[in-house]
């Protein structure tokens, strides 16, 4: 008769193990690697490993002239390319004390908001896909295409535009720009109802996001979580409202703040923000003043020696640009405070104790763009 060997049975329930999420994982939205420590399917802790798409943009800026830096900032947060350009342009203009024509500030503000809507639309697509709703992806991209068409008509490219230059714009807007933007707003006001029907009200999505990944206001402030993710926790951090640039001080819009700070609240923030952005555009689009599309600038731009800082509200939070100049035509040191890096740092904190499937939802709601984290 065979003897039954009693193997020591380990309690697998209690054992902690690690899995790699990424760098090639569809729900990390890029080459981000998360080393997740799990017990069963409960997330115990997680470590983000960044740097897979590090290109040394800050270092490259040190050899480029200021107009050349613009095209590198496109490639950080590529979904808010115009807004990144705006930060550098404003920094140079502030340092040189150049007064840009009013037409330029109006156009820049409108395009920034269009860019914000396009970015949130793409976020909505990918968030829906993270939740398992592939339909959302197609409907979101369909509407984003309309904005990209407007962009392509005016500046020739769809994603990385390099349209702003220090002192103004590369070229004037297309004659049809205003007409097309108004047509888009009319179109999108109708279509955004589909978004609510498809995803916001969906029972699966609600059960998976409500009460998941709660970020308190105190934590949002101490981790520096800005943008819609920070505002969902009630942290009033909208740069457009508190340190207005462009023509935001002349427009009326609400800074919407959440209370709960869970994944659903972060979702709703962006849905509201799209409506607010449309409101801003509607107020400005008919009032673009006539004038020149760029200010007179010297052929070689040299910033006086010193330190400069400028911040803007990018689609994912506050982008800060810090320049140390030694009086040459390229900066001595350049530093970007990118919103996604701070937003990523909070992921470990809020996903502890969640299920691993919830991690995908939380990651989607923080909406990170990996090239902006690594730079």
């Amino acid at each position: 008769m065979k003897e039954i060997i009693n193997l020591p049975v380990k309690n697998v329930e209690e054992e902690e193990y690690h899995i790699n999420m990424g760098p090639q994982h569809p729900s990390t939205h890029g080459v981000l690697r998360l080393v997740v420590s799990l017990q069963g399917e409960i997330v115990k802790s997680l470590k983000p490993h960044c740097g897979y798409i590090h290109r040394g943009i800050e270092k490259m800026c040190e050899k480029d002239t200021y107009p050349q830096i613009i095209h590198l900032t496109d490639r950080m947060d590529y979904l808010s390319a115009h807004i990144n350009n705006h930060a550098v342009c404003m920094l140079v203009e502030k340092a040189l004390e150049v007064e840009v024509p009013e037409r330029v500030t109006y156009i820049r503000t409108i395009i920034d908001e269009l860019n914000r809507i396009a970015s949130h639309q793409l976020w909505w697509c990918s968030f829906g896909m993270d939740m398992g709703g592939l339909t959302c992806f197609f409907y979101g991209l369909r509407d984003r295409e309309k904005i990209l068409d407007i962009f392509e008509e005016s500046f020739g490219s769809r994603l990385l535009h390099s349209y702003y230059t220090p002192g103004g714009l590369m070229m004037d807007i297309h004659p049809d720009f205003q007409k097309n933007v108004k047509a888009f707003i009319k179109y999108f006001r109708k279509k955004i109802k589909d978004y609510d029907d498809l995803l916001t009200g969906n029972i699966i999505m609600q059960l998976r996001t409500k009460g998941v990944g709660i970020l308190t206001k105190e934590d949002a402030i101490s981790y520096g979580v800005t943008g819609p993710s920070g505002r969902a926790s009630g942290f009033a951090c909208d740069v457009r409202k508190h340190h207005p640039y462009g023509v935001y001080d002349k427009t009326e819009f609400k800074e919407i703040l959440g209370t709960k700070g869970d994944t659903f609240e972060r979702y709703m923030m962006r849905m509201h923000e799209m409506l607010e952005s449309m409101k801003i555009i509607e107020q400005l689009i008919d009032n673009i003043p006539a004038g020149d599309y760029k200010a007179k600038m010297k052929a070689v731009i040299k910033l006086p020696a010193g330190e400069y800082f400028q911040r803007v509200e990018a689609a994912r939070g506050e982008l800060g640009v810090y320049v140390v100049s030694d009086g040459n035509k390229s900066p001595y040191r350049m530093k970007f405070r990118s919103p996604n890096f701070s937003n990523l740092s909070v992921l470990d904190h809020i996903s502890r104790g969640c299920k691993i499937a919830d991690l995908v939802a939380i990651g989607g709601s923080l909406d990170y763009v990996i090239p902006d984290i690594d730079r």
């Binding site: 050349q68 095209h71 008509e153 020739g156 070229m171 009200g201």
Partner: protein, 160 residues
């Protein structure tokens, strides 16, 4: 009793929310005129890009094989990543002086980031955006182009 009642209302709202979503997809299914997809390779004949579309940097030549480039090299300096190389040549002028002209305007399409600084900085407007966008090739060296055509010369009235 209360939780028993809630159990059924939850099911009711769940089914209702799913049906709301399916109504949207169903509506698009039965309204084919809302389709926006372009059949790309099939519509190549009729596909027209916007006027300002940035496809590649080109140098227009007129019917006498003449261009506007003086070979000054400003675009080379303006380019942030060295996508443009200017090779100059010296020719003897009838009055005995030597003059710089363009020998080769080398453009590396594979490195170009389409920032537009070269076109904006060119003083004689010799280069413009081209509309071509089908750049896929089997060999990377094919993406290095010489923009001034062989045997071309500069239009007479361009002065440096």
């Amino acid at each position: 009793m209360n939780s028993f009642f809630k159990y059924f209302t939850d099911i009711f709202y769940a089914v209702k929310s799913l049906l709301t979503g399916m109504k949207v997809t169903g509506r698009y299914f039965f309204s084919p005129w809302e389709i926006v997809t372009q059949q790309y390779p099939e519509n190549r004949k009729t596909l027209k890009m916007y006027d300002r579309f940035k496809g590649e940097v080109i140098m227009p030549h007129n019917e006498h094989n003449e261009h506007r480039c003086t070979g000054c090299g400003i675009c080379e300096t303006a380019c942030p990543n060295g996508s443009i190389e200017i090779l100059q040549a010296k020719i003897d002028m009838p009055d005995g002086k030597k003059k710089r002209i363009i020998d080769k305007h080398i453009y590396h399409l594979d490195m170009c980031t389409f920032c537009g600084l070269c076109i904006k900085s060119c003083p004689s407007e010799a280069i413009v955006w081209g509309q071509e966008f089908e750049h896929a090739v089997f060999d990377r060296s094919k993406l290095t182009k010489i923009l001034n055509k062989p045997g071309s010369s500069i239009i007479k009235d361009i002065v440096e």
